[in-house]
Symmetry: C2
């Protein structure tokens, strides 16, 4: 861990890398008949510049370059228009001859903010939604993004290999989680766990053991858990880790601004043969789906294959939950934990080269708890390349 | 830290406490001419029931009780209407004779979600915004909420008293932060740092030392910092903690679902006399503002008094920042870190009994870094009662 000295450029990506992303976004906008857009969310400002600032980015098919409206911080280097409030944009937009009905991020900005922004750029009312185009653009990662994901995968892998050393006999699930959080942070984990949408809240991830694996949460995560408090009802609930009970660890892999997603099971004693069988099944489903990640394949086929393998093994009832079943087996991952494509029965997504996909075929069996492996893969021409590399067996905590 | 076994009731507050909050909200809604509302955000569902679930709460001046539309989890006890998707509400709302133009949370739900919800309850378009009424209702805490805040204050205070033991010579700011995070979590800190609005992201809080205190962030926090990564440009940046340089600690106080906010300065060696003077000035401003927290007082008066004291002492230039000045000296705190009232020059808020207010008169001086004290107070009839009780001097890290 070393001191940090960042460049002050408003665009940290460099011209070429930024252009790749801009081109991807403009292509998706064109597909949807959107000519111009004003980007306002932290995650998408980060996507287009490699940094978070407070302000807006105007992008248009007609213009060569992005136009930055910067609110804070105002000490950056590069060409931008300094504004104090969104309403300051209208005069600039009129003067520059830009469209005053640019599409906005309807899926992430609040209703109040969108209404304000629509007026602030000189329009009457919100015109079009650019959120879908952004999601589609971000679903295919550039080589630079892939490298950042690989780096997160390496660091997360290293932390997972230290987990057995963090365990002490008699520990509660939350206590082990806290030690993993610390180890992750010391290895450079940024902590922030970005989730698209307002519904889902998670702190640093999820550790489940025993019965708690079967407690549904309000959130659309693959596994639930009761949590420590009704204000945040997900994950570890203070259960003591029993020697014969696996512990499923699914902790934040955001080391670079890009998150990998990895789950592994651990056991203080000898895991039961059924637990081992289920864990092996989960790993086998991961491997099978990785092979199926051939560009052009419908994402739904991967879900169906996973469900089929669970059924063939006689574990259909416990696949992706027991009291509550999650409706997917995998998801894109990147700046946020829930990106495209979605591996679900009714997903219309098609696997593309450059997708980065977390596959998490998990099982909850009463008396056994939550068991499963999760890996993140980069889609190459010939299938998924695994970038979360910790051993996949149930690892002994001794 | 013990095992956790929560009640399964959909309303965890009990009838009486819930009624207090409902009455407060209905009164604020009436002030704004709003007859009915549909609540959708996690924080406001938590406010009205004491738990987070996925679903919606319909509240109306005409009805005796709240109507719950529950999506997940569906194993709760109590009376509710189970729905699979928002659109399932319309038929129930028509059948029960409820208004199909209930106000919605325009300030927190996305534009897409609000448009969908408006139709899902059978209306044409979004009718009115209930966010302001909710913010005003929540600004005055009930006795139960005050107790939860006091409990958070006690736990946070305990963690702060352990900080000197967490320091090791040669440590970087981020390393000390990680040890404080761990200590906080072991004492029951839930981690989640809830901020209203989409702009501001912060993980577990902020530690600033040396020059980094003068680095502006994009976020509307009192102090900035460069952060460890451009994807999250705030807070510690890996600076080595120098013996003569104070370290300002402002770490997450969410132990109960309600957050207290406390800042203290620490120093590995002997702090300079100027640092001590500034820290004492900050503590004196806190104490003065606490005395001024008499119900009926305009919040702007408190800001003005703080600015005046900074000016009298000759530190106007460094008050609430140096390269960038934050435009407030305090803020309400509760379920979220940025509640009402706001202590700012143009604030129209009036101090009310039951407000819970964090006061943070901070200074950034080149060569000295960030210095200041922050306390959380409950407004009583005769002034503010401090609930963040760690010693206010610059504490030695030895």
């Amino acid at each position: 861990m070393k001191g940090n000295k960042q460049s002050n450029q408003i665009n940290l990506l460099g011209k070429e890398e930024q252009q790749l992303r801009v081109d991807r976004l403009l292509a998706e906008m064109a597909n949807q008949g959107i000519g111009s857009a004003l980007i306002s969310s932290n995650v998408n400002i980060y996507y287009l510049t490699g940094r978070v600032f407070r302000g807006y980015i105007y992008i248009s098919a007609k213009s060569d370059s992005l136009i930055y409206f910067l609110r804070r911080p105002l000490h950056l280097e590069g060409e931008y228009i300094s504004i104090r409030k969104p309403e300051d944009m209208a005069a600039h937009i009129a003067k520059l001859g830009l469209a005053n009905d640019a599409a906005l991020e309807f899926d992430s900005a609040s209703y109040s903010e969108i209404c304000r922004l629509a007026k602030a750029i000189g329009g009457d009312k919100p015109s079009a939604n650019v959120s879908g185009a952004l999601r589609k653009a971000r679903a295919v990662k550039t080589a630079v993004e892939q490298d950042m994901l690989k780096m997160s995968g390496l660091k997360q892998t290293h932390v997972y290999t230290t987990i057995p050393h963090l365990y002490r006999e008699g520990m509660r699930d939350i206590e082990l989680q806290i030690e993993i959080e610390r180890a992750s942070r010391l290895d450079g984990c940024l902590g922030q766990f970005r989730v698209a949408g307002n519904d889902m809240e998670l702190f640093m991830g999820n550790i489940l053991t025993g019965e708690n694996g079967d407690t549904p949460s309000p959130y659309d995560f693959a596994m639930g858990g009761e949590g420590m408090d009704p204000s945040l009802p997900v994950g570890a609930n203070g259960s003591i880790i029993k020697p014969d009970m696996p512990v499923m660890v699914d902790i934040n892999g955001n080391y670079t601004g890009y998150m990998t997603d990895m789950t592994r099971c651990f056991c203080a004693g000898e895991p039961s043969s059924e637990a081992q069988k289920l864990n092996a099944l989960s790993a086998a489903i991961c491997a099978e789906l990785a092979k199926m990640m051939i560009p052009g394949t419908p994402a739904s086929q991967l879900y169906n294959r996973a469900a089929e393998m669970a059924k063939e093994a006689g574990y259909e009832r416990f696949f992706m939950g027991h009291r509550y079943h999650a409706g997917f087996v995998g998801h894109g991952v990147g700046i946020e934990i829930n990106e495209l494509p979605v591996l679900a029965p009714r997903s219309k997504d098609i696997i593309q080269e450059g997708n980065v996909i977390a596959v998490e075929p998990k099982f909850v069996v009463p008396g056994l708890g939550a068991i499963g492996v999760e890996n993140t893969y980069i889609v190459k021409a010939d299938g998924g390349e695994k970038i979360t590399l910790a051993p996949e067996d149930i690892v002994s905590l001794d």
